[in-house]
């Protein structure tokens, strides 16, 4: 389902965590957008996401979508990064049953999907618990 152009244009976010910061009110957007949802500002400065945060909520996926079937069960969570941005990603290198709301995590670069249907290998960020 993920064609090469569609994959390629998200690389700045998935590989390098590039975000944008509204120059009027300071709100950070990931991915970048053209209008600030807080103040309607249209000017942004490029920034990079914080690499650490804590788990706000999570689930353990038992019935996985295509591209993830061999990995189930796996944990997915919403993490609030230290810069206030919340993002969704898998939480790996841990036993899903041991996760809790509030678990401290860091971002790491990993392979996300085994293989897109068009043959694209899909990389990006996952969370790993900080110990």
């Amino acid at each position: 389902m993920i064609g090469s152009a569609r994959y390629w244009r998200e690389i700045p976010q998935r590989y390098r965590y590039e975000a944008s910061k509204c120059t009027s009110c300071g709100k950070v957007f990931f991915p970048p957008r053209l209008v600030c949802s807080k103040c309607q500002g249209r000017e942004f400065a490029q920034t990079v996401l914080a690499k650490t945060g804590t788990v706000e909520t999570f689930t353990v996926i038992r019935v996985a979508p295509s591209g993830f079937g061999d990995e189930a069960p796996y944990a997915v969570g919403i993490v609030k990064l230290d810069d206030g941005v919340k993002i969704t990603a898998q939480i790996v290198d841990c036993e899903p049953e041991e996760l809790e709301v509030g678990t401290p995590v860091r971002l790491e670069f990993r392979r996300v999907q085994q293989d897109g249907e068009s043959g694209v290998l899909c990389y990006g960020y996952k969370f790993v618990p900080r110990v």
Binding site: M1, I2, E10, F30, P31, S37, E56, T57, F58, T59, V60, I61, R62, V63, A64, P65, S66, G67, F68, E71, Y74, V76, G77, I78, K86, I87, T88, A89, Q90, P96, V101, V112, Q113, C122, G124, K126
Partner: protein, 384 residues
């Protein structure tokens, strides 16, 4: 703006209707609504459908279905807002009549979900979420609602048992609905022992994959009065939006689009939550009903789990929720759900619901939402 009435309703038995095409399913419901209303033509029609393309490889449903109904040249518009497509289609029909653009309008909903396998259906449903920043990471729709459940349980102490009681209550209601897809009763224990889908949600926390359609006819209230018959007036119509991605919400435990739409609907209807006799709400997952009844102001924040567990939301309780059986038992053909909620509400207000009739029903609310609540549509109907 003119006052608007609903004068006809139609719906067929929902389920895995492998022997029937979407054309047949939809036309049966549309004809029933037209026959029920007593009109001999309609001036325009709306079709709520989430994804004709992904579920059956068929778009362009407006003209296709108008032709099936033998009403060929009339204006026919497809409306899409994921699982809220039906509710939004009804709102468009309401606006068309209220504004004076049309007099007799058919509002319908349709989804034919079982022509594809479970994986393809799951993918089609997932397109209601952010494909690049949610689904890319392996999250599913049950997974998104599961994360809402985890957050709600963590903050408010909502329990696994309280979620299970929502499913048990809605199946008990659905057992009284002859058109429900899964009219069997289930116990909270059975829900909690069913197969895990996305922790903490299990298969019996989830609404099913369903083929189905529903239709209603709306006209100016003045016209309805001249036609005679039971009068059901649309007292409020409101809709609101929120971020498409769950992670962009300030509060993961709050469905803001429903709260905003409800606030506007209560203003239009001149009543508050305590002025309602019953509600039909979007229980796509058990946790959804818990959070929706909070957003509608029926329960305090964090207290939605007490609704089904205390019996307050059951038939005969303080505020019956989903007397039809809800999405959980009645089925959830996504584009048809919002219209079926209107049908149930009209029938309740007419006193036509038999064993599942809400006593002294005079005013009902419907709440239909898309995705994890990125869109919500709220209507209030009352006996005129």
């Amino acid at each position: 703006m003119r006052d608007v009435a609903v004068i006809g309703v139609g719906m067929n038995r929902w389920g895995e209707l492998w022997e029937k095409s979407h054309r047949t399913i939809w036309t049966e419901a549309a004809l029933e609504a037209i026959d029920d209303s007593g009109v001999d033509h309609v001036d325009a029609m709306y079709v709520g459908c989430m994804s004709g393309g992904l579920f059956m490889g068929q778009e362009h449903l407006g003209p296709l279905l108008a032709e099936q109904l033998g009403m060929g040249p009339i204006p026919a518009t497809r409306v899409e807002s994921a699982c809220a497509s039906g509710g939004l289609a009804f709102r468009q029909a309401y606006l068309a009549v209220a504004s004076g653009a049309h007099d007799i309008v058919l509002a319908t909903g349709l989804e034919k979900m079982t022509d594809v396998d479970g994986g393809a259906a799951t993918y089609a449903l997932s397109t209601a979420a952010d494909q690049e920043y949610e689904c890319y990471h392996g999250i599913t729709f049950p997974g998104l609602y599961a994360m809402m459940a985890t957050a709600h349980m963590h903050r408010y102490g909502t329990t696994r048992e309280e979620l299970a009681e929502v499913a048990a209550k809605n199946h008990a209601h659905g057992s009284l609905n002859p058109l429900a897809q899964f009219p069997m009763k289930v116990t909270a224990k059975q829900v909690m022992e069913s197969v895990k889908v996305a922790d903490p949600l299990r298969i019996l926390d989830c609404s099913p994959i369903t083929d189905g359609a529903a239709a209603v006819v709306v006209v100016p209230l003045d016209m309805a009065k001249k036609m005679g018959g039971p009068l059901v007036r649309v007292a409020a119509s409101a809709t609101a939006t929120d971020t498409i991605a769950l992670h962009d919400r300030e509060d993961l435990c709050w469905i803001g689009s429903t709260a905003r739409a409800a606030e506007e609907a209560y203003r239009q209807a001149g009543c508050g939550p305590d002025g309602l006799s019953f509600c039909e709400v979007h229980d796509c997952f058990t946790i959804a009903e818990v959070m929706v009844i909070e957003a509608l102001g029926l329960f305090d924040r964090g207290q939605g789990g007490k609704g089904a567990a205390s019996g307050a939301t059951a038939l005969g309780g303080r505020i019956p929720i989903n007397p039809s059986g809800g999405l959980k038992s009645k089925g959830h053909p996504v584009g048809a759900t919002g219209i079926a909620q209107i049908r149930e509400t009209v029938m309740q207000l007419r006193g036509d619901c038999g064993d599942r009739q809400v006593k002294n029903a005079h005013r009902g609310l419907t709440q239909n939402m898309g995705g994890t609540g990125a869109s919500s549509v709220v209507h209030i109907l009352e006996r005129a």
